[in-house]
Structure formats: C-alpha cells, structure tokens
C-alpha cells in the first residue's frame, strides 16, 4: 500500500516554522538536486542518456516523527522523486516501541536493510558520491518492505554493536529494462549484524524471501519470433520451455538469498569502505550475481576527494539452463572519481565522473563510456 499525495510543497513550507510545533514533534528534511549525462548511448547506466537529465536523481524528503508516550513514537518519511514524476509516497511509515533502553521494535513500512548505506540511501548529504554505485546498490524496487523489525544495541569492551532482525512481505509492480512485472516476496526475512570499534566498522547481513514473478511463457508461443510487445522475461521463460527446462524458468515461491559484508574505516580525514554483495536464487529466470565496491576518500578542509572501483558479474547455472541464461548475462565495472564540497554545515556540492566498462551485455561484448554527475545535497 502506497500513500500518495502531492502536497509536499505545502508540507515543506510548514516545516520552515518548527517553532510552531510542540517539543516532541520532530521534522527533518533532505533534498538532492542531481544532473547526469552519458558520453555515449552505447552504454546504459542509472537511466541516463547523452542529453542532460535532472529528474532521475532529484528528490526531496520530509520526515515527521512524534513521540506518543515514553516508549512509543511514530515516524513518517514522505519522499517525492523526480524519477517518479515528483509524486509523493511514504517510503517509511512506522511505529517504534522501545522495549527497553537498548531494544527497539518497529512496525509498518520499513527500509529493507540490504546495504551499508540502505538506511540513508536517499539522504545524499550523508555520503560523498552523487549516488552510491548502482552496480552494488541494486534491488531498488525492494528498498522498502512492510513488516516488523527488532534492533538491539550492545556494547562490549570499547566496541558498539547492533543486531537487527526483520520479517515482512512485498507485493508490487516493478520495472526491469522497460518491462513491468508483478513481483511478490513472501516470508521475507533478514538479519543485520554490525560492530564498530573506534574508527573501524563492520557490517554483515543475510536476507531471504520466496519470490513469485508473473513471467508467462505462454505469452510467447515461439521464442524465435517473439511478439513485438513481449516482455524480456516472458521470452526467457518461453525459451526455457522450448528447451525442456521450462520449470527452471518459472518463479513461483522460489527461494532468493542475498548476502552482504562490508568493512569501513573513517578517522575524520581519511575514509575507506569495501562492500561485497551476492544474490543467489533457485529460479533461473533472474541470474545470480555478485558485486562489490572499494572506495577511499580524503578530506582537505571543506573538500573531500574520493576514488571508487566497483564491479559486478553474473553467475550462471550449469548445462542447458546456463546456456539460456547466457542470453541475459552481464559483467561490468566502473571507476568513479569524485569531489564533494561542504558549502556550509547543511549543504554539499558534488561532482562525480564515472568510467563505465560493460564487458558483457546479454552475453555479448559491450561498450565503455563516461557518466558525468553533478549534484547538490541539503539536510534541514
């Protein structure tokens, strides 16, 4: 269920007079204005083309939270995204119950904690890139989930840590390469473990769900001559059927697993992060993959220069199934060089240049090119 309304402007105006509200109502906001441009349309990356586009990475968010009583609070995060025609939706809407000083239980629509940056994925001010590298930061369609989670914080020795466990479900339409599918994730559950010691941090997470996707082989009677409006996964499912492995190319409550591990270091002037992720599923309809990034940043006063290497690669099944999956195989890598400038304590300007190399696209050799991004991020 998505709450929609287009009154964000009015809400932002309201937020400008926080004094009008009582002490226990907190309003915080963030905004990113980003523009991007590809050097060539021989590559595809983050939805950009060789004309300048502002809408893809531009968004505004408003978070309103209210302490209901000593142990319970309610939070709503409304986000209006340029990629979604600036219509407003509630990305988060949950009630938090503090079971004790170190344990919180949240119920409602939550951010799925897949990645290190998941919790503040859209708060551009919180990181250096114009956006976290999309080869690793994929699964956008599932970034919010309806359910419940429990977070427990602890301290041992000089270390701080937390354990978070969640469960929920997801049922929505999502778009893949221009085609729309209905996807349902049932019995989605996951666990996040993080530990910080001084300047060092580590985060490990595991997620799983049963996926049902409405790919329909019967929509494509002959995979060698698909109808013009056929969806890519329908063609893939039909190809599987034609080779006698149709069952493999159906997603009907098939198990999907996602693994994440990251280590980070930040001493205030030098920061390094390495993050590795992998997707492993029983249906052959979607390729398994692994993706990672390594990034280093150095701060010089108000300016931060950063360099990132990121790569992603599909893993195919063996035999005939793998031969069919090869038609959708992808392997790519990027180098991102960027600079962030802190204009004041709530505004940052950013420039990123990404050299993107598509080693394999749909199983064939791809092209390489550059993505230029400039952006401004605000928090208020």
């Amino acid at each position: 269920m998505v709450l929609r309304k287009s009154g964000l402007a009015a809400a932002v105006l309201l937020a400008c007079s926080p004094a009008a509200f009582s002490d226990d109502l907190n309003i915080n906001g963030f905004m990113n204005v980003n523009a991007g441009n590809l050097s060539t349309e021989d590559i595809s990356l983050d939805g950009y083309d060789d004309g300048v586009s502002f809408d893809i990475g531009t968004l505004a968010g408003l978070q309103i939270s209210k302490q209901v009583n000593d142990t319970t609070s309610a939070t709503v995060q409304l986000i209006s995204r340029g990629s979604d025609n600036y219509s407003t939706e509630a990305s988060w809407a949950y009630v938090t119950y503090a079971a004790n000083e170190n344990t919180d239980i949240r119920m409602g629509r939550l951010r799925t904690p897949f990645f290190y940056y998941s919790d503040f994925l859209e708060v551009g001010y919180a990181y250096n890139w114009v956006r976290p590298p999309s080869m690793v930061y994929r699964l956008d369609a599932f970034s919010s989930i309806s359910g419940v989670d429990v977070t427990h914080r602890f301290a041992i020795g000089g270390m701080d840590g937390s354990v978070q466990a969640y469960t929920g479900r997801y049922n929505e339409d999502f778009t893949l390469s221009g085609d729309t599918y209905n996807i349902e994730l049932r019995r989605a559950a996951g666990m996040v473990f993080s530990l910080n010691s001084g300047d060092f941090g580590t985060r490990l997470s595991y997620h799983q769900a049963d996926i049902t996707l409405d790919a329909d082989p019967s929509a494509v009677p002959n995979p060698l001559a698909p109808p013009a409006d056929a969806r890519a996964l329908d063609i893939l499912a039909s190809t599987g059927a034609a080779f006698g492995v149709g069952d493999e190319f159906i997603a009907d409550e098939d198990k999907v697993k996602f693994y994440q591990a990251s280590v980070s270091y930040d001493n205030g002037s030098t920061a390094v992060i390495a993050e590795w992720t992998a997707l492993d599923q029983t249906t052959a309809l979607l390729n398994d993959d692994s993706a990672y990034l390594i990034s280093a940043a150095q701060r010089f006063g108000d300016a931060t220069v950063h360099l990132t290497y990121t790569a992603a690669e599909d893993e195919l099944e063996s035999g005939v199934v793998g031969q069919i999956q090869k038609n959708a195989e992808s392997k790519e890598n990027s180098i991102i060089l960027g600079m962030r400038y802190d204009y004041d304590s709530s505004t940052a300007f950013k420039v990123d240049i990404q050299q993107h190399d598509e080693e394999l696209v749909n199983g064939a050799k791809g092209e390489s090119g550059l993505l230029y991004n400039v952006g401004m991020s605000l928090v208020f």
Binding site: T75, F120, A155, F300
Partner: protein, 142 residues
C-alpha cells in the same frame, strides 16, 4: 604550486583558529546534584554522539548543545568530539533518517545552558569556564 599555496594558507588559518580557541577555556558541566564527579573525554563524546544514554553511575544522561555558531560549540566539537560541524551534520543525518538517533537539542548560549543544567541532574552541557558557578559541577575542562 597553486595547490601548495592553498594548503599553506589553510594551515596558517587553522593555526590562528586553534590559537584563538585556546584562549577561552570550556568546561563540561553537570548539575551540582549529579552523582558523577569527573568524566573522561571518551564518555562525554559517547554521550554527545548518542552512543550511550547513561552516566557511568547508571543514571540517565541527556546532552544539550549550544546554538549553532557559538564559540564554545565549535571548540567542543573540535576538541572533544574531534569532528567539524559538516562531519557532525553528516553523522547525524545518517541516524536521524533511520530513526536510530536524534542530535542533542540546541538549547541556547553559555548562561542559558548553565541554568538548564543546574536545574536537571540528567543534563550534561558545556559552557565557557567564566560562567561556571556553584549550581553546576565541572566534570571535564579543555
């Protein structure tokens, strides 16, 4: 060459800044009725970064900040927390929008903070050492 100039200018500016700060002594204070006598820098920074919500004796600790731009706040951020105001903003923006923490409330200037802290044994703040009187207890000085 140019870059070097910028860096050396920055270094000079930073030196001036630090010297200016060293002139005013800042005191971290709790109410005179608070049971804790002295706190180390690590404990204070954990309280102000929201990593703990308790004093060493187990009682609840609520940090209060001075208003943005106040000289004592700049000095406190720099010397005790070891972070610039932009870094702190980025730190809190990671927590605010996840419901995992809220920054200390901005509660006024030196005198206002001293009066607030004096009245509530759960509060901890920092003020210019010149405003300290018998109503509060200094637990750390820099």
């Amino acid at each position: 060459m140019n870059m070097f100039k910028v860096i050396s200018r920055l270094a000079i500016a930073t030196t001036f800044f630090v010297t200016a700060l060293a002139n005013a002594e800042v005191a971290v204070i709790v109410s005179a009725s608070n049971g804790n006598s002295a706190l180390d820098q690590d404990t204070i920074s954990r309280v102000f970064l929201g990593k703990t919500s308790n004093f060493p004796d187990g009682s609840q600790a609520i940090p209060v900040d001075q208003n943005e731009g106040a000289a004592s706040r700049e000095a406190f951020n720099d010397k005790v927390l070891g972070k610039s105001s932009s870094q702190l903003k980025a730190y809190w923006s990671r927590l605010i929008f996840t419901g995992k923490g809220t920054p200390p409330k901005e509660s006024g200037s030196d005198t206002e903070i001293k009066d607030l802290v004096a009245k509530n044994p759960n509060l901890i703040g920092y003020v210019d050492a010149s405003v300290v009187d018998g109503s509060v207890k200094v637990v750390f000085k820099f």
